[in-house]
């Protein structure tokens, strides 16, 4: 409900079956406190599978970022806003007497910092750092955390040499035995963000879409009331925001229409775009809305599952990703791996651009975020777990993170040390996390 001169942060536009949270508006800041108001800090993790072609990932220098490597090239426009971190290690991704199964182990260990139990039945890893944070600050937002992905996320069966698919297909672990499967279907995510929580069957959705209006139509009344209390800047912000929501709706409708034309019986979720890049964009557009509207401050995004054999025909690569990474140093296969790695970074860079475009207080949504883009394996051909490809983007709010650099830590420095430092930034303080040996030095200006 919209009342008063200082707008409540938790103001919603409501309509039948619809709840739209609002972005951070100037009107939400009391005039006297304008200079001290702070947008929340967001923390997220974007995970890409099967390691990297490290030849084309690694940089051969430290300090201020200069020319980026081929795979990181799409991040070139944002290199002042990123930290490239070297030598971070996940010891618990290593075999440690458990034999083969690096894909299962590395993903299960990635955010938990723990050694996953080699099993297909009684799974066990550890509580992931995103969920530790969500447990502490999740009550401040509608969703304690969001878990997103772009690929099949079956939770049972053997996905790598005796490791349950629960390890390869999830990043977030609510407890040491309970992973949180990612949402893959954009329509399901849309309804979760803006709907009343009731999932519709594909048939029901199709019927509804025939008569459906935009959800914005249902909140017209609230929107008009709100606008009377907003200044010109906020009105523009609101208009842009609602346009983003409408654009997502259009993308969803297009995907659903395309899917119906391609094969009405296709097994994948009804609203999943056939095109990888479109799917990525649609999910991150909605994630952006969720962060912008403070629906959540914590997220994980499993771009594709660890060990995936997804083909990238849009790049002219019919081979599966995982088999390609076992390239035996054949140049033609390594080239394809590099192309896939670069393609992923390109999608991520597109999202960064979007986050930077959203004003929030004196900065942007991007400035108030810290997002790890990384892999749980270093080189998919070697299956190693040291010097993991890791980029930390965003400033963590209030220019906390000093970006634009490459920092190479000492060998064996636990990745868990980075996560422990990020937890600190979210005001969640713990003596240790996973296999941490301390905090990670050098991230901030202090």
């Amino acid at each position: 409900m919209i009342t008063g001169k200082a707008l409540a942060r938790r103001t919603f536009l409501r309509g039948i079956g619809t709840t739209i949270a609002l972005p951070f508006l100037d009107a939400m800041t009391p005039a006297m406190a304008a200079t001290t108001a702070k947008a929340p800090v967001r923390m997220g993790f974007v995970y890409v599978p099967n390691g990297m072609d490290v030849r084309n990932w690694n940089l051969d220098y430290e300090g201020k970022l200069g020319e980026l490597s081929r795979i990181m090239k799409p991040l070139e426009p944002f290199k002042d806003d990123i930290l490239v971190l070297g030598n971070l290690t996940h010891n618990n991704g290593r075999a440690l007497l458990d034999g083969p199964g690096d894909h299962g182990r590395c993903c299960g260990a990635y955010l938990t910092g723990m050694q996953p139990r080699k099993t297909m039945v009684d799974i066990k890893a550890g509580i992931s750092c995103d969920q530790i944070v969500a447990n502490h600050i999740g009550n401040k937002t509608r969703f304690p955390s969001l878990e997103l992905g772009l690929e099949d996320a079956r939770q049972a069966g053997d996905c790598d040499s005796g490791y349950s698919c629960a390890y390869t297909n999830n990043l977030a672990w609510r407890s040491e035995t309970q992973p949180l499967p990612p949402v893959l279907d954009p329509r399901a995510l849309f309804e979760r963000l803006f709907g009343n929580g009731v999932a519709l069957s594909p048939e029901a959705r199709a019927l509804q879409s025939k008569y459906r209006r935009s959800i914005l139509d249902f909140v017209t009344g609230d929107t008009k009331k709100l606008e009377t209390n907003l200044g010109p800047t906020d009105k523009r912000k609101l208009e842009e925001y609602l346009s983003s929501v409408r654009e997502i709706e259009r993308q969803l409708e297009k995907a659903e229409k395309d899917n119906a034309q391609i094969d009405p019986k296709m097994p994948k979720p009804y609203g999943v775009p056939a095109d990888f890049a479109e799917h990525f964009k649609l999910m991150t557009d909605m994630l952006t809305i969720a962060l912008q509207a403070d629906l959540t401050r914590v997220f994980t995004f499993l771009v594709t599952r660890e060990g995936t054999s997804r083909a990238y025909r849009e790049l002219g690569i019919p081979d599966g990703h995982h088999p390609l990474t076992h390239h035996q140093n054949k140049p033609e296969l390594m080239e394809k791996v590099s192309q896939i790695n670069t393609y992923h970074v390109k999608q991520f860079a597109g999202w960064i651009e979007k986050l930077k475009s959203i004003q929030e207080g004196d900065g942007s949504l991007f400035d108030n975020s810290m997002i790890v883009y990384g892999a749980g394996l270093t080189d998919g051909n070697k299956h190693n777990h040291e010097d993991l490809p890791t980029v930390l983007v965003g400033h963590g709010g209030n220019n906390f993170i000093k970006t634009g650099r490459r920092i190479v830590y000492r060998k064996e420095t636990p990745m868990s040390n980075l996560f422990l430092s990020m937890m600190d930034r979210m005001d969640v303080h713990s003596e240790n996390f996973g296999d941490s040996t301390g905090r990670l030095d050098g991230l901030d200006l202090s």
């Binding site: 010891n91 618990n92 007497l97 040499s161 076992h326 060998k411 064996e412």
Partner: protein
């Protein structure tokens, strides 16, 4: 890295030293790699408490000399073990026993003893390195050796869960330090008294100490350097030995005694004291208090074993490097290949090439 289904591998050894402070550290490392080559032990961690890059660089150069680039460890097959280096405390000075061998070049201008340590982040964070080394071992199939001040192991004790892990994985700690039974001050203890106290108080396994009287009584013969190592036209330990003091000289071998006891504790090279508790006094003296429940013992030299000990020192430390037969996951890989029909030979690391001694300068 140890894999199941192939029987227990040889005992894994963690070696922490103040490499560069005295020549017996280099001799001890040579002895350890000699045992490694005979498959009687496996080096799983090398770390240095002497804060100088050359100390770590020398250790890596010796490791590469003996094991080539195939030392698996937990770093993975085909990777050289990272060397841990203390980055706490004041930086220590260069010393000829390190700088001379490291400065030697081949005729074409390359380092005679190759290593990859040129800056601090070429070395490993010590507490993580030591902890990670234990995680890769079967229970009770590793032994920690301390051939220097207790600085690094004391730091490791502060890592969450380390004590429980060490208690599970480690049989005992073999160290040089102190003097027994008289307790006179000794360098390793005096250099970091708080760390020594912490180690004796908190290390979770039995500790066996080789006092300075052992090393002094068992001098490593200079003649062996000239004779037994002659098979190699260039040897990093020989160059270190010759640079440490003017030749010929016999060197105290305290650190070697810790290695020998660790690898062959059951073979009667040394006698053991009764159990007790070692405490460290303010001036660096050690005090041994007998106690049936004590976890500490010290080595006692049996004069009858002296020649036998010197013989094994010289034979093993001067042994030629042996190409390691990798114990890696051939069987498991084959199973995986059959299952996925994708990998075939793709994950099998290239077998180690024969390790050749560096060419003469």
């Amino acid at each position: 890295m140890q894999f199941p289904g192939q029987g227990k591998p040889p005992v894994g050894i963690l070696f922490d030293s103040d490499m560069g402070s005295s020549i017996d550290g280099a001799l001890a490392l040579a002895l350890l790699y000699g045992f490694d080559g005979k498959n009687e032990a496996r080096v799983i961690s090398v770390s240095v408490s002497r804060a100088n890059l050359s100390s770590a660089a020398f250790c890596e150069a010796v490791g590469r000399f003996y094991a080539g680039a195939v030392n698996g460890g937990f770093g993975g097959v085909g990777r050289t073990l990272p060397v841990g280096l203390a980055d706490y405390g004041k930086e220590r000075e260069e010393t000829p026993m390190l700088s001379v061998p490291l400065a030697k070049m081949t005729p074409d201008g390359k380092p005679l003893y190759a290593h990859g340590i040129h800056k601090l982040n070429d070395t490993a964070e010590v507490p993580a390195l030591i902890r990670n080394a234990f995680t890769s071992q079967y229970d009770q199939n590793s032994i920690a050796i301390l051939a220097g001040p207790a600085t690094n192991y004391a730091k490791a004790l502060d890592v969450a869960g380390f004590k429980e892990l060490a208690a599970r994985k480690c049989r005992f700690l073999a160290m040089t330090g102190g003097a027994f039974p008289d307790g006179r001050p000794e360098y390793n203890i005096q250099t970091d008294i708080p760390a020594a106290r912490k180690l004796f108080a908190e290390w979770p396994t039995p500790i066996v100490v080789s006092g300075s009287e052992i090393g002094e009584a068992l001098a490593f013969p200079a003649a062996s350097i000239e004779r037994d190592f002659a098979w190699s036209p260039a040897h990093p330990v020989v160059d270190a030995y010759k640079a440490y003091r003017p030749m010929p000289y016999d060197a105290p071998s305290g650190d070697m005694s810790a290695v020998l006891y660790a690898v062959h504790s059951q073979e009667g090279y040394f006698k053991l004291s009764e159990p007790g508790t070692i405490t460290v006094l303010d001036d660096g003296r050690t005090k041994f208090t007998p106690s049936a429940q004590g976890k500490h013992r010290y080595l006692i030299l049996d004069p009858a074993q002296k020649d036998r000990i010197i013989k094994i020192y010289t034979e093993i430390a001067s042994a030629k490097p042996v190409p390691r037969v990798p114990r890696f996951r051939l069987k498991e890989l084959k199973e995986k290949e059959e299952k996925e029909k994708l990998l075939k030979e793709k994950e099998i690391p290239v077998p180690p090439s024969e390790v050749k001694p560096p060419a003469a300068p």
